[in-house]
């Protein structure tokens, strides 16, 4: 019997004090604040992922599209301009408002031009 009481007494602990309501509210508020911050970070991560995916798609589109891509002028363009088959304003090389033989000449000059040599 004595042993029982001794063991029981050894297991007894002081009861935890009552937590004031203000402490509970503060802990709850901190948790809510952390949850809000986590949610904001998660939203930003989604936006970043979506933006990266959009960039990749735009890059792929730019890479595969062919129509409308600027192309270097060549002798076929010069021939069409010289023979009056081409009237597109982008072939107006001298900016005189007309697409004519002078522009064909300018195209030939342009396509045969060599880069300046380096001075040794």
């Amino acid at each position: 019997m004595h042993d029982f009481e001794t063991r029981l007494r050894a297991r007894m602990r002081e009861a935890a004090p009552d937590v004031p309501a203000t402490v509970d509210a503060a802990v709850l508020a901190a948790g809510q604040e952390a949850a809000r911050a986590f949610e904001a970070r998660r939203r930003m991560r989604r936006i970043r992922t979506a933006a990266a995916a959009a960039l990749v798609l735009v890059g792929l589109w730019l890479g595969v599209r062919s129509e409308g891509t600027p192309r270097a002028l060549d002798v076929a363009d010069a021939w069409r301009v010289a023979t009056g088959r081409e009237h597109d304003r982008r072939f107006d090389q001298n900016g005189d408002g007309r697409v004519d033989g002078a522009d064909a000449d300018a195209i030939l000059t342009r396509i045969t031009a060599l880069p300046p040599r380096r001075k040794s």
Binding site: A113, L114, R117
Partner: protein, 168 residues
């Protein structure tokens, strides 16, 4: 009378001897000697374009010579490309040149001036280049950036060949 005849004969003999020893072209001998000293020679190479069954209205190509210097450019063997092709004068004394030419006549004819009138087809010589090359001859040139067009201005497939001119 006899004295005059003897003097005339002596003068003729003197002139004949002088003419025998005089070089054919006074400027040629020093030039040849200079070429021999530098181990170089002048070489002409022909540029051919083979358009197959298409009419060749315009062509361009970039040529690179690793061991030779360009010193002159002539036109081709057909009427349409008899004029020298367009090139940048800066290419002279260098080993790289971009040549481009529009067929004469066809361009003047305009769109209604007969589609293939006067335009060559098949393999034609479109230019001749003069090079200052090593004495053993120029190396194989690199041909790049070939573009050609038919009478309608459509791009066509062609073969460009550069060959050393045969004969002197």
């Amino acid at each position: 009378m006899k004295v005059v005849g003897t003097r005339a004969m002596a003068l003729v003999a003197l002139l004949a001897t002088a003419a025998w020893h005089m070089p054919q072209d006074p400027a040629q001998a020093p030039a040849d000697a200079a070429l021999q000293r530098t181990g170089t020679t002048f070489v002409a190479v022909d540029v051919f374009v083979d358009a197959g069954t298409n009419a060749l209205a315009a062509w361009q190509a970039e040529l690179r010579f690793a061991d030779s210097k360009l010193v002159g450019i002539e036109g081709g063997a057909v009427q349409a490309f008899a004029e020298p092709p367009r090139y940048d004068p800066a290419a002279l004394q260098g080993g790289r040149v971009v040549l481009a030419a529009l067929a004469a006549g066809g361009a003047e004819g305009g769109p209604e001036g007969g589609a293939d009138a006067g335009l060559p087809s098949g393999r034609v010589r479109v230019a001749r280049l003069h090079l200052l090359a090593p004495a053993k001859g120029p190396g194989e040139p690199t041909v790049d950036g070939v573009v050609a067009a038919d009478a309608d201005g459509e791009r066509i497939e062609v073969d460009v060949e550069v060959r050393r001119k045969e004969g002197k």
